[in-house]
Amino acid sequence: MESQQSTHSDSLHGILAEFRNPKELVDAARKVEQSGYKKYDAYTPFPIHGLEKAMNLKDSPLGWIVFLHGLIGAGGALLLMIWTMGYDYPMNISGKPYIDIPSFIPVTFELTILLSAFGATFGMLYLNGLPKFHNPLFNSDRFDKVTDDGFFIGIESDDALFEREKVKDLLEEAGASHIEEIHD
């Protein structure tokens, strides 16, 4: 894979820098954010607290996705039960009303949770653009450490401010222990 990393300067995907520990990463991310880059990201083996402030991330919209799914679950369950039990085939069951709301609560609850959980899981995957099996970052051997004990920042070449040498200088200044170019 090293061989692919030759001189295809036109296919440059971005620049990846490694940092020694979470603190250096947070400081570097703050620096990158303050320098005005937009298309950059930090890569870590586990979520680091304080990094969202350094990177100035907005609150995830996932809550709303889940809430909508939950509403569909609750509404759908109630409508299904009211229609089937109350209108389509009403039957007298132990003298209770046809539309017996207290007895409908358990199923309504379960379906609300079920749909909300779908919303949370698949909504998260959607927001993260997963599954995505090809990623230029995987061309870097060093990047294997990201799920072990490596802390990285990558700045993509699509960024409006991207200039190869400037980016490298910035990352070097931020204390990167290793800097490499990532090619497609």
Partner: protein, 395 residues
């Protein structure tokens, strides 16, 4: 002498001294209620019991909260722990205020009428438990146990402020472990004694849990209001930060759901099985105006707190959690009325002026005693081993 860097002062400033005003309100309220006793003593006793249980439930839930924090070694709650410690310290004085209830037993509790029991085989079977002597003896046992626990937990926590002896944390924890267990049994039977035996034929095995779920929810509402009251007076403005408010908010939210769960289970099981001796209890509480309170419980104790506090941000916003807490406390009072009042006014609920005077009277005394004790000590446990983590907590 605290090793932790705290920017606020650790005692209540002199100008924050609501004790006198509160006690005065309390005395006026109680005098007015006493006048009420001579006008309509039935109403007086029922109103008094409702208000007394209202404050008692908060003090009891506070005791539970303190013990739970010790057992789980929670660090987040250390900065606010002195408040529940002091609230639960009121349990012992509150035993004195139980005396009017004991004098009113004949009015309040149908099972004290020997003539009624004589014609009622079901009540005859219950006399080993439902007799005035044993009832009073049980109250001594309950208050003895709770008084001991709350006194010991407060005293040693305060002692740690002065001596800085971290070993006391171990003592507090070892008291709390068995304490919670004994607490569960005593509070269970006490709630049955005070409230369930008002209707001596009715029974529900979940009643103790139901009472607990109400109390703990109301307790968190009190905590939130207390924290904001103190902060509005310039107390602990730095030390108690958004993250602590958020934790109180999430507990308020969580216990709103817990309350709804328990209350719904009790309702559903009785409704579904439809046994006459059980459903009659709900029957009395779902007609003649009581259905309005029942609806208010559903909306005010569950739906509104649930929907409003659902987004994460809301749980720490002052202008959101304060109205929600006030709402919950108001509904807590009405729920207790809903449990108690059908015995007095079966044919229509109406609020009586004595409900208000006993509520204000006992409330004034309760919080008067609270502030009296609170200002005598450090307002946070300044030498607690977990204080540092608590202070350094941020959202």
């Amino acid at each position: 002498m605290s090793q932790v860097d705290i920017k606020d002062r650790l005692t209540l400033p002199d100008q924050v001294n609501p004790t006198r005003g509160l006690i005065a309100t309390g005395v006026v309220g109680l005098i007015a209620s006493a006048i009420g006793y001579f006008l309509n003593h039935d109403q007086f006793f029922f109103s008094y019991l409702t208000s007394w249980v209202f404050y008692m439930s908060i003090a009891l839930a506070a005791l539970f909260f303190v013990m739970l924090q010790h057992v789980t070694r929670s660090s987040w709650s250390v900065v606010v722990r002195r408040i529940p410690e002091t609230l639960s310290y009121n349990i012992l004085p509150w035993a004195i205020f139980l005396i009017p209830v004991l004098f009113g037993m004949h009015t309040l509790y149908h099972w004290t009428h020997h003539s009624a029991v004589a014609h009622d085989p079901v009540l005859q079977g219950k006399t080993p438990w439902l007799n005035s002597t044993f009832f009073v003896v049980r109250q001594f046992i309950y208050f003895g146990i709770w008084g001991f626990l709350s006194y010991r937990l407060h005293k040693n926590s305060v002692k740690m402020d002065e001596t800085g002896d971290w070993g006391l944390q171990t003592l507090l924890r070892r008291t709390s472990g068995p304490g919670i267990f004994i607490y569960a049994i005593t509070v269970g039977f006490a709630s049955i004694d005070w409230l369930m035996t008002l209707d001596p034929h009715w029974y529900s095995t979940i009643f103790a849990v139901y009472f607990f779920s109400m109390s703990i929810q109301a307790f968190f509402a009190v905590m939130i209001l207390m924290v904001f009251y103190l902060q509005s007076k310039g107390v602990l403005q730095q030390t108690i930060n958004r993250s602590h408010i958020y934790d109180l908010g999430i507990l308020l939210f969580g216990f709103s759901i817990f309350y709804a769960y328990i209350a719904f289970c009790q309702y559903l099981l009785i409704y579904y099985a439809n046994l006459p001796e059980e459903t009659v209890w709900f029957h009395h509480r779902l007609e003649h105006g009581y259905q309005g309170i029942a609806l208010a419980l559903l909306i005010g104790r569950f739906l509104i707190p649930f929907l409003v506090l659902l987004p994460k941000k809301m749980k720490s916003i002052k202008n959101v959690v304060i109205p929600i807490s006030i709402l919950i406390l108001a509904v807590h009072f009405f729920e207790l009325s809903w449990l108690v009042m059908p015995l007095l006014k079966e044919h229509g609920y109406s609020i009586n002026w004595m409900d208000v005077t006993t509520f204000l009277g006992l409330g004034g005394i309760f919080f008067g005693l609270f502030f009296n004790k609170f200002r005598k000590h450090k307002i946070i446990p300044e030498n607690d081993p977990l204080l540092e983590q608590s202070v350094n907590k941020h959202l």
